[in-house]
Point group: C3
Chain length 264, copies 3
């Protein structure tokens, strides 16, 4: 199985799909093609949340603000998965997650993961027909098809192992007395504000102060009336600021990268 | 075959897809993931319009404003199809349709359907890892994979038949002298205003009064000039208010739930 | 393999998918369902860019402002591909491309293509259940399934060859002294402005005058700072006006159909 993830507007993902189908009979499943445009950190977050639910697969990821520069293209082997991506860190958080899980399924999730994964660089200089603007089609999709069909990057002449790759780590929250100072990592399509603060740090509080305002801490959106705010632990395990049937980002006035103080 | 339908923004549907792929080799086809957010009636309408065109399949439907409350999760067996959904009525209109068709294909369509379908409740209390915010991933996707692979809910220990389920019926139009008072059921992505008034009730009129204004009644959008309004019978069989190459909702000033009087 | 392309909002494409699955076991891959609404020329451009990357397949294309009028439905055989589409020219540019490539892959691309393709008309008058508003579901999807499974239109009684079909050609640029006067063909989802001027006509210039303003000519978006404008050659081979990590259409004030003068 090959999965596809990008920030490409339609119909660019279809060109990648065509290239893969021309080289491989692999089943293709879409992860997303509407990641926040050229936001490597947001894509890295969502990949870490979603890819571990898939069975072993070859994942082709293209969120690539550096296309056409000298950034490398890499294959990351982690657990029984391979991730083909630009060398900008987008594949690293999920690789840490997959490496720590091994074959054990998607349950672990909470830990920081391990660095027990391998990175291979793809030599595409001789890809004579590669455009400088669409490596998704000309570099990453062919590599994904070939890595899948050949059983891994080791079987490809154009891949060599490297210890020189771009890392990406999410910011850690600062633990303070009965609280934490954190950051908004991403806002999802519902408008839910996802922070970097682990949900299990909140304990069994009944309310949480968000920048000095007390907000009910609940275990489900629908535990509040429509339009009312809540703090909850999202399906990703982090503290999330939300509005039942509404947009948390608007109600709390928070955007990606904003810092916030939670006290409980 | 398993189909997926939800009101989930990307990449949440991909997590469901991953869970299904981890448990089943079933082919997966998307129905839609942009149903109007948490609008159970609109989703019920579209499912009734679309699912009968599929061959026998297991349909996983998640439009679920009550996630995390004590609402049940159900499997509805209708014809040769199974629908896994929250117990909020979203699966019932299409179940009536599928039950009345049996194996006879999608042609009938107009009738009210029958209640010759079975409802099973899914016990997910022991799904220890279920989040309270993402039952699509933690409850419905696993159930869809298992119902598909085991051949139905009867084979699953965690399913038991129930007669206690939430119904959903679309509002009936009031037939008046040479006309009908009805309601806007949904507005599609083109802006076409879909009412609850059956198209065959209009007869062979040349024009229809919509709230006292005479509008041409035509059998195709392009029978009017671009930008001009028309009344037509949509592909779903109901009366539809539209604009050729434009948005009917804006031109008629109508939204979901508005009532309107049609005279012919 | 059957591919699907349309300008249909969700869930209309799913009804087509259901119809195809009910008639054929063919694998289905989406090309796009968000082509600019009822813009036949834009769809024709994107199909020419994308479909040649697919292996031989049956492509079902529905961008159809004339649905319900007396426009024909056609099957175009080109190379080893078949395209099912309304007879409005949408399938012709890609047919020229596929016909000139034969089995040689997607590399040629630059030439004007050849007319070495066959057009078949689909007789759907006896499709008694065809709606007048949704031929995607009632005419094109069934035809795609049957053309795929029967190995071509020649095997279908309802298809007959025709020499009478609607052509579509993109406007040619006017070559002027050290420059070209061209037109905006499409704007992609990134906001990149794609012109009808071939990229190889620019030569090795360092800058290009766009309507009298000198803009750097670069081979990658990231060769400019974020927010800065550039002229480049897009992945389709044409001159493109762009902004690194921004929208070229807004920065240059250009829309589809606008003419522009480039000098180098």
């Amino acid at each position: 199985m090959i999965t596809l993830a990008s920030d490409f507007p339609s119909p660019y993902p279809a060109a990648m799909r065509g290239v893969i189908c021309s080289r491989s009979d692999a089943r293709i499943e879409d992860v997303a093609h509407d990641f926040p445009r050229q936001d490597v950190r947001a894509a890295a977050f969502w990949l870490r949340e979603v890819l571990p639910y898939f069975p072993p697969a070859t994942h082709c990821v293209v969120v690539d603000p550096g296309v056409g520069t000298d950034r490398s293209a890499v294959v990351v082997e982690a657990g029984d998965h391979e991730i083909i991506a630009p060398d900008n860190g987008v594949a690293i958080p999920v690789a840490r997650e997959l490496a720590s899980e091994g074959d054990a399924g998607a349950e672990s999730g909470d830990g920081p993961g391990t660095d027990d994964f391998d990175v291979w660089e793809i030599d595409y200089d001789d890809a004579a027909t590669a455009s400088n603007t669409f490596h998704g089609r000309d570099v990453f999709a062919p590599a994904a098809a070939d890595v899948h069909d050949e059983g891994g990057p080791a079987a490809l002449d154009r891949c060599h192992r490297t210890g020189d790759w771009v890392d990406l780590r999410f910011p850690e929250p600062d633990v303070v007395a009965k609280g934490a100072r954190g950051e908004v990592l991403v806002v999802d399509g519902f408008g839910n504000v996802i922070t970097n603060i682990p949900g299990d740090s909140v304990g069994d509080s009944d309310g949480v102060r968000v920048d000095d305002e007390l907000i009910p801490f609940r275990d489900a959106y629908a535990a509040r009336d429509p339009g009312d705010r809540l703090v909850t632990v999202g399906s990703h395990g982090n503290v999330e600021l939300a509005v039942n049937r509404g947009r948390g980002d608007e109600a709390f006035g928070l955007s990606v990268g904003d810092s916030l103080l939670l006290e409980w």
